[in-house]
């Protein structure tokens, strides 16, 4: 049987596990709502239980190790989850030690955005590229930088904290306390907030109809824009301008071979792409303007595949694998074509 890794993606709302083959195929998947308020021991118990489920389904699996991603801040070298804001009661949890003792297997830990960056580089939108910056745009903005097959870690694994790059002096104060963070103006949350302010319950707007007269989310804005709603299209254009300013910074600073945009808002990538591209054309210095900006391809599998790759292809930084992709890809290919239109 082929070599496999157990992979886990520990999120604030969902805990996902998978068995990933060396070729990149996800052989089995499980998930459970994260017991995020119950402390680290309860959640580690969930991880162990999910691992048991996966291994029981595949009793012959030759598992080479466990690749794990979790929200930052975490120390990937020491294997310690330092204290993610979305998980109560996690303080300097030595996750590699705990899981290593439990399973008697090598364990690797990476933060979720870095793991997703690595996954997209190995098997997703970035395969074949020498380097990429991955940007996930959803509730917040996170990212990861991959160069020559390695995650750019920086001191204590803290590099690529893209969401807290200051890009303006305006806008709402970020939860981090500063004004002008990329995340504070360009996240899905920021887009939803602008849409909510622009409208009012019962005003008959498409945005509010889609939201059932509640708070408007980024998803509602994308849906209304797809339906041709003018306000929604203007909101998308403004959102894309902010993304374009942030992406231009990333081009100037990291000079990657490409930028990959993931996260919930990547569902609207085809709508955002023209104004993102126009903003980059306008603001980037000429030598950076032809760098492709493409949507992520692996969806919510990116973190799992990236985490698995820490076990399956460790020490093989060279070229990323080029394998046949599966179900998620038709949509992302269409979006990708749109981004080059």
């Amino acid at each position: 049987m082929t070599k496999l890794a157990l992979a886990f993606d520990l999120g604030g709302t969902e805990l996902r596990g998978a068995l990933v083959e060396r070729g990149g195929r996800v052989a089995a998947r499980v998930s459970a709502p994260t017991m995020a308020g119950a402390g680290s021991e309860a959640v580690i118990g969930q991880i162990i239980a999910l691992a048991g489920t996966l291994l029981a389904e595949h009793p012959q699996a030759k598992v080479a190790g466990i690749g794990m991603c979790a929200p930052g801040p975490l120390d990937p070298k020491a294997g310690i989850v330092i204290g993610p804001p979305t998980l109560a009661g996690w303080h300097d949890v030595p996750l590699i030690d705990i899981l290593g003792r439990q399973f008697g297997l090598p364990v690797r830990l990476e933060n979720d955005a870095n793991a997703a960056a690595l996954g997209e580089w190995r098997l997703g939108a970035g395969r074949g590229s020498g380097s990429l910056v991955f940007v996930t745009v959803s509730t917040g903005i996170g990212g990861g930088v991959v160069v020559d097959g390695h995650i750019y870690h920086g001191r204590r694994g803290l590099a690529a904290e893209i969401g807290h790059m200051t890009i303006t002096g305006e806008g709402d104060r970020c939860f981090c306390g500063a004004v002008g963070c990329f995340e504070a103006v360009a996240s899905g949350t920021a887009l939803g907030r602008r849409a909510t302010r622009l409208t009012a319950p019962g005003d008959g707007s498409l945005l509010r109809r889609f939201s059932g007269d509640g708070e408007v989310s980024a998803r509602h804005v994308v849906e209304a824009a797809r339906a041709g709603d003018v306000s929604a299209l203007e909101l998308i254009e403004a959102e894309a301008r902010w993304l374009g300013i942030g992406f231009t910074n990333l081009l100037h600073l990291f000079s990657p071979d490409l930028i990959v945009m993931g996260g919930g808002l990547a569902n609207g990538f085809d709508l955002l792409a023209p104004e993102i591209r126009a903003t980059v054309e306008q603001r980037a210095m000429p030598a950076y303007r032809d760098v492709p900006i493409v949507p992520a391809e692996l969806g919510d599998r990116a973190g799992l595949i990236g985490a698995a790759s820490l076990i399956l292809w460790e020490g093989e930084p060279g070229a990323p694998l080029a394998i046949a992709q599966d179900e998620d890809n038709d949509a992302s290919k269409r979006a990708r074509e749109a981004s080059h239109g």
Copy 2:
């Protein structure tokens, strides 16, 4: 005799050459005003002439190769100077080929900010650190990132274009066409311009007295601040806030072990340091706040030493050398202490 490199730092106003020993000592220096308007052939002639002068002074020198730095954009791998704005008539000049044929020696080419970053890492303020971001603040703002002894190049050697990172929506338009570039608000030029606008010829202000009633430069602001002038001190404080915003971004993005500030404005580092530090404390996420921000130590030798290191320590990325420093260092040590005050 010890192994030596010929090193050249080609600037828009001055062309500097040196013989650098393997231990880092500058054995001989020469310079000439760059014939910046005369085209590439004339300047290459100057380089060859200066090399001749250096070699004639040290006829026994065992020269291992030529390390060269020049203004970007340039392609360090291909060895081509693409077209620096400060040098007329340079278009895709294959400098490595030309000098290699002329001298029959290995030649390495690097952009000036990257070379200075490497010099500071090898022998200056960054020695002993695993990684650093070097920021040069003078007419413009440039930079270089060194990780594990290697320059972070990115695609086509274009990474770390720090000056054109957008950090605000306000201020004068940058020469690149965008608004809000770090360089446009925080360079020495921007500081001088703010001082010039704040005052008027003949107004009796210390700033105008120091400038002989002409345009006020960053140097005049530093001098007036040292003399206790209140307007100058306020200008320094505002300047330091912009620097602090930009440095915070660099911390979040690259997570270096330290930031080294060079360039003309580093002469005022001790004055700028308190407000730079306060701004970082205020804006950086907690895990980044203790990263040292220190002044450069090598002054105008940084580029030469970095360029020489491309020849002398090629393939030795490991630890930077720790050698005794020379004349420039008392002043920078005082400034360094101030930065930790």
